[in-house]
Symmetry: C2
Subunit: 350 residues, 2 copies
């Protein structure tokens, strides 16, 4: 045919939040696979594991003992990637070797005392507890004069580098704004200056019209596969109301966020009937004291699996040297996720 | 201490080729690891495998038969991510859903008829054959009016998504210039306009003075761990002479490139006494007909392993949401690689 058909033909898509391109090869999803298969993760874990350094009452490296916590539990990472005490300093050799001292804080957030749970298997009320601790941490760390950006994230599953299966996330908070949120700041501000509305407000309106990339929605949040999704089943969670951070959410909105998190992660687990690995994280306005009214709270989910519990998408070669590439289209991925049951497969089995 | 110490304290480094930042956490290399361990790859392969679709004389998907090639062998990828026949076209919904048809060619290059070899185990003369086929492909594809950029790369090892262990690389050549080479174009041009020398000429001069990040050098090429390396043992191969692409290299320089490739990959294999996985690729000037005199030929090696044959560095969570992070410093990595023997471990065993 002489018409460009994005459902079948190779094309590039533009990510307006980051200002980056993506190569899409829809015709390629049928290629056979002789490469590495992942070993499916061992599923059965005890509710309490005496050797786990995140379970209540257990000792961590260095001998600190965890309290007998019953909800969430936050502590400073024993092997923090950021140190609070680094003095100011920099390196600059003819503009080509450039470094800056970076100070900050790294914390671990246990989502539940139960070693055997993950977000999709937790009750909505317990997930709401996680939303509350994220909010409190963002506020507490963001208020510090030495912290200008707070990154809250979760690596779920050993395939995503999680060093322990106990349900937990992390916070890395630091003096400078890292690259991706800095790019999102630039692009959201440019859009705001031109249109007087947030980029994600207008983007969400288009998605609600087109409907093809929606996964789940409730009164206050929408989950969709973004038009520019890089990972096969990547999703973006957007607040309907234009707010800059978690601290601005009402009680109802926080409950709706907990519901959306539960519904999305249940669908993820149901996709391949396994504990679905991903890295996820909140993007909120920098805490540098500026208003950043153009910023629009959202959360990214980056899952590595492509075709089954054992076949992943590799971001290698071309992706590392040129730009990301995907096979299955965002529209096909969204449809698959949307049509999955809203009850966790473990609970719907007899 | 009140002095910033980049060998011990967290800091950020700037990548002047891409305009991106990296978080370095040198103090963190001692943290214990309870996470995923890779299964070391099965090492013993036959010289010829009747089930391999890349071995000489075998049939590929669709029934095409490979010739009985004796050196290198190039063919169009049976599952190409790029299609040559895509018509021009685009999508633009209020500036937020943007796509463009993308046409191009994807090819596979077998490096050797021997199923059991990899670059570090090949003779220099055979590696020179690979350099020659890269050069010829860059010239042939680059000359086409519908191809403005040629990406030559190799995914080595199943950990890097290689779908077949037979020694091979790929070429993806396309109408537009992808993100990373486009960024390198911008940053090299800005440097060139200001200084009248290529960015990598001046960078190489600093590295040859400081010596701390050098891995290997011969008369025409230098291999080093760049100051801004993201992956634990990432390296950058730079031509001493400022040329824009492979086609400008002399016969001596091509031999020196083959030698540098052999010496680098032997050290990689010797590091953990295993076939060392990586993605590697050449960056050359776009083939859009412009001179691009600021461009300086180089090659990136991105290996995923961190501490042993079974512990990898995960680019997840913080890295996907904020910016890349590393533990071991580039200086420590360079020293380790530099001090390894120049003879492949398999050949030095009795
Ligand atoms: O074409 P292959 O070798 O099957 O595929 C491999 O390389 C490609 C280019 O880097 C990647 O997009 C794939 O994810 C990877 O598995
Ligand atoms: O801190 P953890 O869970 O041990 O480490 C994990 O998350 C970090 C932040 O995304 C990554 O830098 C590590 O590569 C990963 O293994």
């Amino acid at each position: 045919s002489s018409h460009f058909d994005p459902t079948e033909q190779s094309h590039r898509r533009y990510n307006p939040l980051l200002g980056q391109w993506l190569l899409v090869s829809p015709h390629r999803s049928k290629r056979p696979w002789q490469g590495q298969q992942e070993a499916p993760e061992v599923e059965k874990r005890p509710a309490y594991d005496p050797t786990c350094y995140l379970c209540p009452g257990n000792s961590r490296v260095g001998g600190v003992q965890n309290p007998n916590y019953t909800g969430t539990f936050v502590f400073d990472n024993d092997f923090a990637a950021l140190q609070a005490t680094v003095p100011v300093g920099s390196v600059n050799v003819r503009g080509l070797l450039r470094a800056e001292a970076e100070s900050g804080v790294a914390r671990v957030i246990c989502f539940s005392p139960r070693h055997d749970l993950t977000l999709p298997e937790m009750e909505v009320g317990a997930i709401r507890g996680v939303v509350d601790v994220w909010t409190a941490q963002y506020q507490e760390l963001g208020a510090r004069p030495d912290i200008n950006y707070v990154q809250i994230f979760e690596n779920k599953g050993s395939m995503m580098g999680a060093s322990n299966p106990h349900p937990h996330g992390q916070i890395w908070a630091q003096r400078t704004v890292p690259d991706d949120p800095a790019r999102e700041t630039t692009h959201q501000l440019a859009y705001w200056s031109e249109h007087g509305r947030s980029l994600l407000t207008d983007y969400l309106a288009i998605e609600l019209e087109e409907q093809t990339r929606l996964v789940y929605q409730n009164e206050h949040f929408v989950v969709l596969v973004p038009y520019w999704a890089v990972w096969p089943f990547e999703t973006l969670l957007i607040s309907r109301r234009h707010v800059q951070d978690l601290a601005q959410l009402t009680d109802d909105e926080k409950n709706a966020l907990a519901d959306a998190l539960q519904q999305l992660t249940i669908r993820y687990d149901n996709l391949f009937q396994m504990s679905f690995p991903y890295s996820a994280g909140l993007h909120q306005r920098p805490t540098d004291g500026q208003a950043h009214e153009s910023w629009h709270l959202h959360m990214h989910f980056y899952p590595p699996l492509l075709r089954s519990a054992t076949v992943r998408k590799f971001m290698v070669g071309y992706e590392l040297l040129a730009n990301p590439q995907r096979d299955i289209t965002p529209e096909v991925a969204a449809q698959r996720l949307r049509e999955l049951p809203s009850v966790h497969y473990k609970k719907s089995q007899p």
